[in-house]
């Protein structure tokens, strides 16, 4: 028992240091679209990056902008590098986000745009296409069980998964995006 506890100390220390850096604890969000779907300021000024990170900024947040390293091109490589600059790590090879972080996914319409999804406590993926409402269905009207196979329209490139420090309270995610 003691050896097991000792083995966990580095992980617990890392979790604590991560919390210290973020000034908060991470948790997985529920699907609460009414917060975002006000047909007004919140809906029109928060995009898929805001929604997937569960962080309202009212600035139509752009990957990398908060870190002064915005994406140079609309490719998977450029947008994921920008998200990394914002401090949002890639999903580890274990397939599980550490420290109660939430799994989010990036897709790209090459040369045109990017889009993000988030995983909610329900086990389904949800998203917010630009200035429109947050939703739990894809372009075919189907619930999203897997963003890799969902109908994504022109967003044909699946770029990968990341781990965001979200929050159970809607709009209060802890990643520093802008």
């Amino acid at each position: 028992m003691r050896a097991s506890t000792t083995a966990r100390v580095p992980a617990m220390l890392a979790a604590g240091l991560a919390a210290l850096a973020l000034g908060a604890c991470c948790s997985q969000p529920t699907f609460t679209p009414t917060f975002w779907n006000d047909a007004g300021t919140i809906q029109y000024h928060n995009n898929c990056y805001n929604y997937s990170n569960n962080h309202r900024t009212d600035t139509f947040a752009q990957p990398g902008r908060a870190a002064g390293a915005m994406y140079a091109g609309l490719t998977c490589a450029d947008v994921l590098a920008a998200a990394a600059a914002d401090g949002i790590p890639r999903l580890p090879t274990t397939g599980v986000c550490p420290d109660s972080r939430d799994k989010i996914a990036l897709v790209v319409a090459p040369g045109i745009d990017f889009h993000w999804y988030r995983l909610d406590t329900s086990g389904f993926w949800t998203h917010k296409p630009g200035a429109t409402q947050a939703t739990n269905v894809d372009n075919s009207g189907n619930p999203i069980t897997n963003p890799e196979t969902a109908n994504r329209g022109i967003y044909t490139d699946f770029c990968g998964y990341f781990c965001s420090c979200s929050d159970a309270k809607e709009g209060n995610g802890h990643e520093k995006i802008n």
Partner: protein, 170 residues
Amino acid sequence: MRRSTEICRRIARAAAAAGLAAAISMALSANAAAEPPAGTSGLTIQVLIYSGRPDPLFVIRDPAQIAKLKQLLDQAAPDQAADAAKSILPSLLGYKGFLILNPGALGGLPREVAVYQQRVQTRDGGSRRVLSDSGAIESFLAGEAERSKALDARALEILRTGRGGNQGPR
């Protein structure tokens, strides 16, 4: 995981001051959100085609075009069955309508108008209405978007394809 979350919470409480500073910083950045490019001297039209990057914008300043838009809006009929608190814009990847921003209340138009296909939603202060038309307002705005040169070839293709109804269910 439960134990690490507990430690996380304890340390986070100790870092409350840092969190407060971050919150102030975020609030300041929210207040710094850009004003529409036309300000109060014209109508700013947002073409809703992107999800992540900012949508293309163009401006209508010509009084005759503003009057034409007002005429089309006056011809639209109230949709009594619609829930005015719910957005009429579809949650799709691709074309999803137009948003007219009119902070100066020019031409007697509402301060905010959302348009998608045959549906129109207006917002003026706390007052919201949903209207129906023949699609004339959307067609007018699509024509103005093409004339404005604000959309590149790919953006125009998304607009045309979306208005053609090839994106799936609405």
